[in-house]
Amino acid sequence: MQPIPQAENQVSLKEPSLGVAQFIRSITAIIWKDMAAELRSRELLSAMLVFALLVILIFNFSLELDARARATVTAGVLWVTFAFAGTLGLNRSMAMEKDRGCLDGLLLAPVDRSAIYFGKAIGNLIFMLIVEVIVLPVYSVLYSVNLFKPGLLLVILLGSIGYVAVGTLLSSMAVQTRTRDVLLPILLFPLVIPVLIAAVKGSTGFLQGVQAIDIRPWINLLIVYDVIFVAVAFMVFDYIVEE
């Protein structure tokens, strides 16, 4: 075995808060890591996708819909699907850190704790968006509904952000309890109802070509929710991961 070499030119010890650059670097490092790990195992995405498609299938049988009824119900079906598939992703993402103690590894890094939150949250958001991007065309084809309206995509984005903002926070809590997987949906769904309502109404609005002025309140609600909860999460995350 060889002697341990000194690290050369150790990057300057920026004191004490380590700067925006490091903050961003850590966030991207975490996102990158999650993407790389997922690319290898594909566990998370495949679980979410299969689950989502199953839910859509079940809806087909449980709601006998004619073409007209389907138009009003599409947004609801989509969002229920996303909400449930989302919890799978949130759980897995955090569980990966908790096992093997990797969360400690993250906590040991010389960077603000909220970087961990943002890294995981953005990672979760990306996974959720990927699932949504795949589910939309599938639904489109299965039910002959045109889902490619830009307004709809905006609503899906805003809704997913809100969902993931609160979901990441709650999954960091849930993963530290005994009843881990079961607890997350119970904690999450009541808090995320404003998002679901606004997202469904907004989506339906865009799908049915409703006047922009009527959809406005829903978009505003989504934005307000997103902003508030991301800010609150930022403030509160420290208390969740510290001991």
Binding site: V166, L169, L170, M173, A174, Q176, T177, R178, T179, R180, L183, I186, L187, F189, P190, L191, V192, I193, P194, I197, A198, K201, D214, P217, W218, L221, V224, Y225, I228, F229, V232, V236, Y239, I240, E243
Partner: protein, 232 residues
């Protein structure tokens, strides 16, 4: 446990008296409402319960913030007590609301904003209690409880607003629950007095129960402390 403080003993008596008076007022003093008859009397309990139940939320959120900042365990006891009591209060509110709905519109449930939000709030309280149950470490339990209380406190008004907008754009078709229907009867002065009194009574009940529950919580902590001392 310290002996019951004087003030609490007095509060207990006052609360019981208020409750008896309130019941008497509701059944004997308040006039019989023309349309709904006896069922309408539920109203006095229902609304008071709901308003006071919301207090629990506020108390829990404030206690949550206080706990996170100060780390003093007593805030955790307060928050837990507030949620537990509000859980029961809200349950009563929902059940009485259901009776009210049956009397007014013949259905056991309406999806109007208030009742729906109440159901959601109840589920949030339940989630809070389940969260706490799943954690062994008391410090972590307190912290997570505090965080969840804060998150819920912010989320529930947003929920209420979103349901409200939801219902104005798409009026409810079930029953005759148009936005105006709930609780819309003109209150005669006697009814108003009864209602106000009822509200007062329930506030007292809440405060009284809260105080008792906090004492209970402190006793539990003390016992735990002693037990640990003995073990060592």
């Amino acid at each position: 446990m310290e002996p019951k403080p004087r003030l609490l003993a007095i509060l207990d008596i006052v609360t019981v008296l208020l409750l008896i008076t309130a019941v008497v007022m509701v059944f004997l003093y308040a006039p019989l409402e023309a349309v709904m008859g006896q069922v309408q009397r539920v109203f006095y309990f229902h609304v008071a319960n709901a308003w006071v139940g919301m207090l629990g939320f506020l108390v829990a959120a404030i206690a949550g913030v206080a706990f996170l900042r100060k780390g003093d365990h007593k805030w955790d006891v307060v928050g837990m007590a507030a949620v537990e009591i509000s859980f029961v209060f809200f349950f009563i509110a929902i059940v009485s609301g259901s009776i009210w709905a049956r009397g007014s519109w013949g259905t056991w449930w309406t999806w109007d904003p208030r009742l729906t939000t109440a159901a959601i709030v109840e589920l949030v309280y339940a989630a809070y209690l389940m969260l706490r149950q799943g954690i062994e470490d008391p410090d972590r339990r307190a912290r997570f409880g505090a965080v969840y209380a804060i998150l819920s406190f912010i989320s529930v008004p947003l929920t209420f607003i979103s349901i409200r907008i939801f219902r104005t754009i798409h009026p409810v078709i079930i029953g005759s629950g148009a936005a105006g229907a709930e609780g819309s009867f003109d209150m005669t002065p006697k009814m108003l007095q009864t209602f106000m009194f009822s509200l007062l009574t329930f506030s007292f009940i809440f405060a009284d129960l809260l105080w008792h529950r906090i004492r209970l919580g402190k006793l539990a902590d003390k016992t735990e402390n002693l037990r640990l001392k003995v073990i060592q």
